[in-house]
Each structure stands twice: as C-alpha cells, then as structure tokens.
C-alpha cells in the first residue's frame, strides 16, 4: 500500500496543516514528560512520540461526523481530532477543566463534541465498542465511519478476533487501524504472534487488509483516504501502520527489551523532519515555515501547561456525580 514514488503535499496549505498537526503532538508529549517528572501528572503516561504520522494521516481523512475509538496512548489522536491542548493538558493534571472533568487522566480522554470515544485502558476493549458504533450507523442508514486505533499487541486478545469476525460478518463500517510499533509494552511482536504478518491474519476474516509505512504521513494519508472511502457505506477494512515509538512504553520503562541502536535507526526516519525535508524539496514549505510553526507550537504548549496549572480540582463533594446519567428518562 505504500506508494512507489514518495508523495508530495498537495499544496502549501496541506503541508502546513500536516506539519502543524504532527509538531503540536510532539511538543505536547514532551511537555507531558516534563510535567510528569515534576509530579504534576501522575499514574500512567504513554507517549506517542514517533508515531505522529499515523494519527495525523488517518484523522486528516475523516469528517466531523465520523467516530474515533483509541487506546491509552491517545493524546496524539485527541489533538489531531481537534481537542484543544488546554483542556487536554488540564485532563493530564486531573483538573476539572479537563475534557473528562479530570476524572480520567492520560488514559481516558473523551470528547462527545468530536465523537472521540476514549481513551480505553484495557487492550483490545475498544474494538467491540467500535463495532457497536458502526452497527448503530448501519442500522440507522448513516454513512459514517468508525476508526478504531489499536496496537499490534491487541491482536493477541480474543476481543480482536471476535470483533474482526463480527464486523466482517455483519459488514460494518469500521476502519481497524493497527499501529504496529513492534512492541506490546516489552514484548516484541515475534515473541507473541505465531503469524507476524498482520495483514494475513486480518485478511482471514474476509476483509481487505493493507499495510503502509507509518512514518510517512503522506503515505498514511493516501492509504487512509482510500480506506475511509472503502469503509464509508461499505464494510470493514484493516490497515496496518508500520511505526515506532521513540520513547519508552510509559514513563518508568527502562526499555530493557530493545537495543538503543534500533531506536536510533528508527529515529533517522522521524516522521517530522523527513516530512519537512520532503515538503521543502517539493516547494510546498518555505525556509521559515518550520521554524514559525515550531514557535507557535512551543507557545501553545506553554499556554496549555499554564492553563492546566491554573485549573481547579473537582470538589470532593461532586465525587458521586455522573455515576449514573444525570438527565431524565429518554
């Protein structure tokens, strides 16, 4: 599915949009790492550094009406989807101004306005949810797509197989976007899957299964656009995005399971500088554009941290609110 000749951005507009989206994610994640070290963010923190091209490239192809289900490594998807970095950082800080009222933290980002259904911390649990969202669309004759992001580790869970089967059986509009970053926490793919060719496994459920270079945002976007078109009003599709996370699984992972040299090799394919180079070579980006966007992103993240710092903690008296729905009978 990776195109033979490297793609170029359509125009300057397009290039700026993609670069801005990826850089914002990168800087946000770095700000999170810093704030975690200072003790402002607690619990588990899973950063998306290195994988930015996947979220940006896929979400670029969605409409406002489509739905997204993601995992606990979802900050990038949330930002790409349009969730403001300020409430997102406030959510990391556990403040009530956060997108889930601070209730969820890093792993449970939800946003009804953008149809962002989490933020799910149980590996593979988002797949049945995505199947259900797509089922509702099918039954109500709506042409919406549900994208389900998950890591390759989820493919070992029973829920992956159940969901793939059900989606194909009932022909549901789900785009199963598998971010294969080669490690499920500390377990390499080869140590957990008897069949490491993910598309072969997916295709056995009778759905199209494509693989694409996840470090190339233009390739991702190209593949995703075709995928979303196929899924919309149609059936499910499996898209493997070959990517790599440059940082540890979470904040206190000593990364004993992989060689530094491997990480360095993948860093040579960092989606952001490689995109900048390609966009400048094609003339879509000018010499100053990257620096300017860099400045904007840096300023934006400072503001996000300030917003989160200034936020408030939900009053303890509200602890039991929203256990059950607070509106009336429907």
């Amino acid at each position: 599915m990776t195109p033979e000749a490297p793609l170029a951005p359509r125009d300057r507009e397009h290039a700026l949009r993609l670069l801005r989206a990826m850089l914002r994610i990168r800087r946000f994640e770095e700000a999170c790492a810093e704030q975690y070290s200072k003790g402002k963010i607690r619990g588990f923190l899973h950063l998306y550094v290195g994988q930015e091209a996947v979220a940006v490239g896929v979400i670029e192809c969605l409409t406002a009406d489509d739905a997204i289900v993601a995992t606990y490594r979802e900050h990038g998807h949330a930002l790409a989807r349009g969730i403001d970095s300020r409430p997102l950082m406030a959510e990391m800080f556990g403040k009530v101004e956060g997108c889930s009222r601070g209730r969820g933290g890093s792993m449970h980002v939800f946003d009804a306005a953008t149809r962002f259904y989490g933020g799910n911390a149980i590996v593979a649990a988002g797949l049945p949810l995505a199947v259900g969202l797509a089922l509702a669309d099918r039954m109500q004759n709506r042409d919406r797509v549900t994208v389900c992001f998950f890591g390759e580790g989820a493919m070992a869970e029973g829920e992956f197989h159940e969901s793939m089967n059900l989606a194909a059986l009932w022909r549901l509009p789900v785009l199963f976007a598998c971010e294969n970053n080669l490690y499920a926490m500390g377990t390499a793919l080869a140590r957990s899957e008897s069949e490491t060719n993910l598309c072969v496994k997916a295709a056995s459920y009778e759905m199209p299964a494509w693989s694409v270079d996840g470090m190339d945002v233009l390739a991702v976007e190209d593949a995703a656009r075709r995928a979303v078109t196929a899924v919309r009003g149609g059936g499910p599709l499996f898209l493997e995005l070959r990517t790599y996370r440059f940082r540890a699984h979470s904040m206190f992972d000593p990364q004993l399971y992989r060689e530094k040299s491997e990480v360095e090799a993948w860093k040579q394919r960092d989606p952001i500088p490689t995109f900048v180079a390609r966009a400048q070579a094609s003339g879509a980006l000018g010499a100053d554009d990257a620096a300017r966007i860099e400045e904007e992103a840096a300023a934006e993240m400072v503001a996000a941290v300030d917003f989160a710092e200034a936020g408030h903690f939900e009053p303890v008296a509200d602890l039991a609110r929203h256990v059950l729905f607070e509106g009336g009978a429907q």
């Binding site: 739905a67 956060g98 997108c99 889930s100 009222r101 601070g102 209730r103 969820g104 449970h108 939800f110 946003d111 009804a112 259904y117 989490g118 933020g119 911390a121 149980i122 649990a125 797949l127 049945p128 949810l129 995505a130 199947v131 259900g132 969202l133 797509a134 089922l135 509702a136 669309d137 039954m139 109500q140 549900t146 029973g158 829920e159 159940e162 969901s163 089967n165 059900l166 059986l169 009932w170 609110r321 929203h322 256990v323 059950l324 729905f325 607070e326 509106g327 009336g328 009978a329 429907q330």
Partner: protein, 330 residues
C-alpha cells in the same frame, strides 16, 4: 385497565414484554446467541425473527465480549439494544465490557456519555446442569457502581421491568431465573411497566422478615406458609431491585418484625445477603431482637446429582427452619 386476568408462564411473560418493546420503539433490537433462528435458548424470542427480521433480531457468534461491547457502542450510537447473554455463566467472558465499559463510561468521561443498554441473562441453579452452568452471580454485578441490576420474580415484573429498563439512560441488567421460565400464574392481561426502584412486600407478617429475590422468592413464600401453620407470621419482602437496594423497605420490615432471614442463591461469603445484613446492622441495630440469619447456597460448586444439588441450594424448609430458630430463640 380492563381488569381481565390471563394465565401465563414467565417465559410467555418475558416474551410478551420483549415483543411489545420491539413493536413500541424501532430503535430497540435484540442481539445474542441463538435468539433468532433457534428461537431463543429458552424460547423467549420464539417467532421474533420471522416477525421483526434479521436486522432487529441478530444472531451473534459465540463472542460474548464482542457483542456486549457492540451493544455498548450501539447504545452510544443512538440505538436501544437488548443484549441477551445466554446465562450469567457465560457473562464472565463479557465482564470486562460490562464493568470497564458500560458501568464506567459515564463517570470516567465526566458525564459526557451514557449507555442506555439492557442486558438480559438467565441465572440460577436447580436443573442439574452442574458446576459451570448453575451460578447466581447477581451479587457480583450488584457490587458495581454505574449499572442497575434487577431480578423479576413475579409475572407483573416479568412483564413490566423490561419496559422501564429500556427507558433508563443507564445500563440495566435483568436477571431471569431459569427455573421460573415454565412456571405459570395469573397476571393482568394489560400488565404494564413497573418501577425499578422499590422492593415489594409480597406477604405481610409481624414475627420475622424473610428477604428474598428472584428464584428464591417462591421458596420464601413457601416457607412463610409453613411457618403460619405453626403460628409464626412471617412477612416476605421481594427485593426486585438489587442495585440500588431499597434500603428503606428493608429497614422498615426489620423495624416491624425485629427478626430477619435473608435468602440468597449466591454463595454466602461476600454475597448480596452480606451487604443487606451489613446495612441492617448499620442502620437498624436497635430494632434487632435476634441475630441476622442468612440462607444461601452451600459453599460448593453446584453438583449434578439431584439430592446434592437440592442440599446445596436454599430450600423452603431451610428458610422456615432458620425463621423458627429466630422466633423461638434458642
């Protein structure tokens, strides 16, 4: 209200209730194993596939986790799914979706999402189905904040609880005791929706309270009859709703009789009966003229041979015996 009464089994009552729900609201659909072509494993949905079609009566593969998760997603997507888990025994495969999905979404997202999902399951023992098919795990589910749990034990409730459950914006679990399906009785021809909030006094008395639910209600009533023959007037309280418990009704009953026997088909340790006993001790200690007694299943996996199964389950004779001991004091 015409006042006309008809003879009906619980199975027929559940079926009528389900059919009326499907007719009443086109968002309602039934999903589960063998609900369509097989006509329902307990024949509750017999004939529905022909009447409502395969879109609304969906046979699923043996994928409890996926189709419960899909039920959650479909509910989020605007449908009113009724997911049928064949029995509570198989629900364990979907427990993650129920607990980490349905029950937590509202609170965890800061109130942004709610899940109007109904899950029906058969429960209970008594038909020599042996250890893996005889569980009563209502108490486990009643432990979880964010869902409602109900146990219809009368025909009125079998007819009326589903209606109200479908109108509830929160997940509702309905436990149908398998032993009741063929049991017949009289009920109003136009029996309608019932509340999902209050316990019901099925028999008034003054010497001892028998608190029961679901499949143990008829045992408790039988015990009360036998006690009456010995001059002991027992009152029988049908919990109806296991979460949230109608604490006021429980405490009022204890305040009337000052002696209580709690009947629960779950195993005694850490059961729902333990919760009820704790609440009585917490709020009505001064009303007790005797220790709280519980009659539950023996702490064994339910065995296959009839005599052992009977010995393991709470029977009317054991309930009456416990009540007598309380009244006679020694």
């Amino acid at each position: 209200m015409t006042g006309e009464r008809i003879k009906q089994s619980f199975r027929e009552a559940f079926r009528q209730s389900l059919r009326e729900a499907l007719v009443r609201d086109e968002r309602v659909f039934l999903m589960g194993e063998d609900v369509g072509r097989y006509g329902g494993s307990y024949a509750v949905s017999h004939g529905f596939l022909e009447e409502f079609g395969p879109d609304r009566i969906r046979d699923t593969p043996l994928s409890e986790s996926a189709f419960v998760g899909a039920g959650i997603g479909a509910a989020l997507g605007g449908m009113r799914p009724i997911v049928e888990l064949m029995t509570v025994n198989f629900s364990l495969l979907a427990m993650d979706q129920i607990l980490n999905g349905a029950a937590t979404l509202s609170h965890m997202s800061g109130g942004q999402f709610h899940v109007p999902l109904v899950i029906r399951m058969a429960t209970g023992a008594g038909r020599q189905l042996a250890a893996q098919h005889s569980h009563s795990l209502e108490g486990w589910y009643a432990h979880i904040p964010g869902i409602k749990v109900v146990a219809p034990a009368t025909l009125e409730d079998a007819r009326g609880m589903l209606h109200t459950a479908l109108e509830d914006p929160n997940p509702v679990l309905i436990f149908e005791h398998a032993r009741l399906y063929p049991v017949e009785g009289e009920v109003a021809a136009d029996a309608g929706p019932v509340d999902l909030e209050r316990a019901a006094l099925r028999r008034a008395g003054r010497d001892v309270s028998l608190i029961a639910y679901g499949g143990t209600l008829d045992r408790a009533l039988e015990a009360a009859e036998s006690l009456a023959g010995q001059g002991i007037e027992a009152e029988v309280l049908d919990l109806r709703v296991l979460r949230p418990l109608d604490e006021a009704a429980i405490l009022a009953s204890v305040a009337r009789t000052h002696r209580v026997v709690i009947v629960d088909e779950g195993w005694k340790s850490g059961s729902l009966s333990a919760e009820i006993a704790a609440r009585i001790a917490e709020h009505a200690l001064g009303e007790l003229d005797a220790p709280i007694r519980r009659v539950c299943s023996a702490e064994v996996p339910i065995p296959y041979p009839k005599h052992l199964e009977d010995a393991a389950l709470p029977q009317a004779a054991r309930i009456a015996e416990a009540a007598r001991e309380l009244v006679r004091g020694g």
